[in-house]
């Protein structure tokens, strides 16, 4: 139960920060910028060792926001570097995030085939 509460609070807080950035910088920051920003900052914080503590604390509250996807990329890269050096730096991130990326493209395509935009 406590894992659910911490996921709610931390996940909500990460979204709240995104909302503040968008509303206070209107119209410069669009949803696309938010996605790009979160994945990049997540990957960066993960590299500095600052994101793992948040994941330990909040579980899905830290992994479900797109910054968590950045974290997955970086952790995959770092692990692969340990195993296979330079090549790992290039392949590790995509390997770790493969399920998410492939699912997004596959389901995206299938949804586009099945549904029409309704407006």
């Amino acid at each position: 139960m406590s894992s659910l509460i911490s996921a709610f609070l931390v996940g909500g807080a990460l979204c709240l920060i995104g909302q503040l950035i968008m509303d206070l910088t209107k119209p410069a920051v669009t949803p696309g910028h938010i996605l790009v920003g979160y994945i990049s900052i997540g990957a960066l914080l993960s590299g500095l060792g600052l994101y793992q503590p948040l994941v330990d604390l909040a579980g899905a509250g830290a992994t479900v926001p797109l910054s968590g996807f950045g974290h997955t990329l970086t952790q995959g890269t770092l692990k692969a570097v340990e195993e296979s050096g330079l090549l790992g730096a290039i392949s590790g991130g995509v390997e770790a995030a493969a399920a998410g990326i492939t699912a997004a493209i596959l389901f995206g395509y299938v949804a586009a085939v099945l549904f029409d935009p309704k407006g």
């Binding site: 119209p27 935009p117 309704k118 407006g119």
Partner: protein, 338 residues
């Protein structure tokens, strides 16, 4: 040589003012839920209008509106000598594809949301120039075809900003004729200059266009030596709540005070509870308001003299991405009962 037909800096005076003999407007479902439901000729049941894409729906909307306007005078499309038409889409395809079906000689116009006034004044020039006797001016816009071209895919979950306006789904068509008929006539028009005060927010076009509207109205009144209360109503095209509030402040700055006979089609179009934020926009906004409630009020004699100042924001997604500011334009057409 003294030019008799031009007066002042930017205003053209029609010697034999063309008469608006018939008009029609078809609007989308959301517009039909607004305050003017009974003043529109026809309200679409859905946004697809029996077609398979938003673009096809918009073209059909324009085509059917032209047909409807023409049929009110018992004309066939082939009785019309010239179609002057425009819309918001790339390469104004809604208009040209409608003209493909209608087989009326066609001039395409692009003035963004100012196109209704641009088409009307061009049509009137064609008639008063002595080239044509029966011309149709028409425009259309469609919420979802505009949304996907200028903003986001329609199913993306985004929050619209408070100053953003809702592109109206609607088309308006006016038959203009030479000769002596009863009905409102287009007596003069002021062609606007592009005014750009450096506004860049594509979610707040009202602010980008308000200075152009102020400039055109001021020029029109000084060119024609008319006081602002000459008109029963001065109505801008689609400044919305933000833009029209700004325009009122610019009026005060310019010493022109048309209130309380000033209003804006974008503000009038929807009810407050329709969640459109700052109001309506798009070519269809001023066109539907004109061909719906406003001309109806002219026929009823509730408005004798109307100045329609349609406003346009002439940017594209490309120029916005390249950091360019938004050029605004406004054209004014004066409609007067005989």
């Amino acid at each position: 040589m003294v030019n008799q037909k031009k007066q002042g800096l930017q205003t053209i005076i029609f010697e034999e003012p063309p008469v608006l003999t018939a008009w029609a407007t078809i609007v989308g479902p959301k517009e039909g839920e607004g305050p003017w439901r009974s003043d529109f000729d026809w309200i679409m049941e859905d946004y697809e209008f029996g077609e398979s894409s938003w673009e096809k729906a918009e073209s059909k909307l324009l085509r059917e509106t032209v047909k409807l306007a023409v049929s009110k005078k018992n004309y066939q499309p082939e009785d019309i000598e010239l179609l002057v038409s425009g819309d918001l889409l790339n390469q104004i395809t809604s208009s040209s594809f409608a003209a493909r079906e209608l087989q009326i000689p066609f001039l395409g116009m692009y003035g963004a949301c100012s196109t209704m006034a641009e088409a009307l004044l061009t049509a009137a020039m064609a008639i008063d120039g002595g080239y044509f006797e029966r011309v149709v001016a028409a425009v259309s816009s469609h919420h979802y075809s505009a949304e996907r071209q200028f903003r986001f895919p329609t199913e993306q979950g985004v929050q619209r900003s408070m100053s953003s306006q809702w592109t109206v789904t609607g088309a308006g068509a006016v038959v203009l004729e030479k000769g002596i008929y009863g009905g409102p006539r287009l007596t003069c028009a002021t062609i606007g200059k592009i005014i750009d005060l450096g506004q860049k927010d594509a979610n707040d076009l009202g602010s980008a266009m308000a200075p152009a509207a102020a400039d055109t109205i001021k020029t029109h009144l000084s060119d024609t030596n008319r006081p602002s209360d000459y008109y029963d109503l001065i109505v801008t095209g689609d400044l919305g709540k933000v833009g029209s509030a700004l325009l009122k402040q610019l009026f005060i700055k310019n010493g022109v005070v048309p209130e309380p006979n000033y209003s804006d089609c974008g503000v009038l179009m929807f009810n407050d509870n329709q969640d459109v934020h700052a109001g309506g926009s798009g070519c269809g906004c001023s066109a539907s308001m004109l061909c719906g409630p406003l001309l109806k009020k002219m026929v009823q004699g509730k408005i004798e003299r109307l100045l329609l100042v349609a406003t346009g924001a002439l940017m594209s997604p490309t120029t916005s991405f390249q950091g360019e500011s938004i050029p605004g334009i406004a054209h004014a057409v004066a409609l007067e009962n005989p």
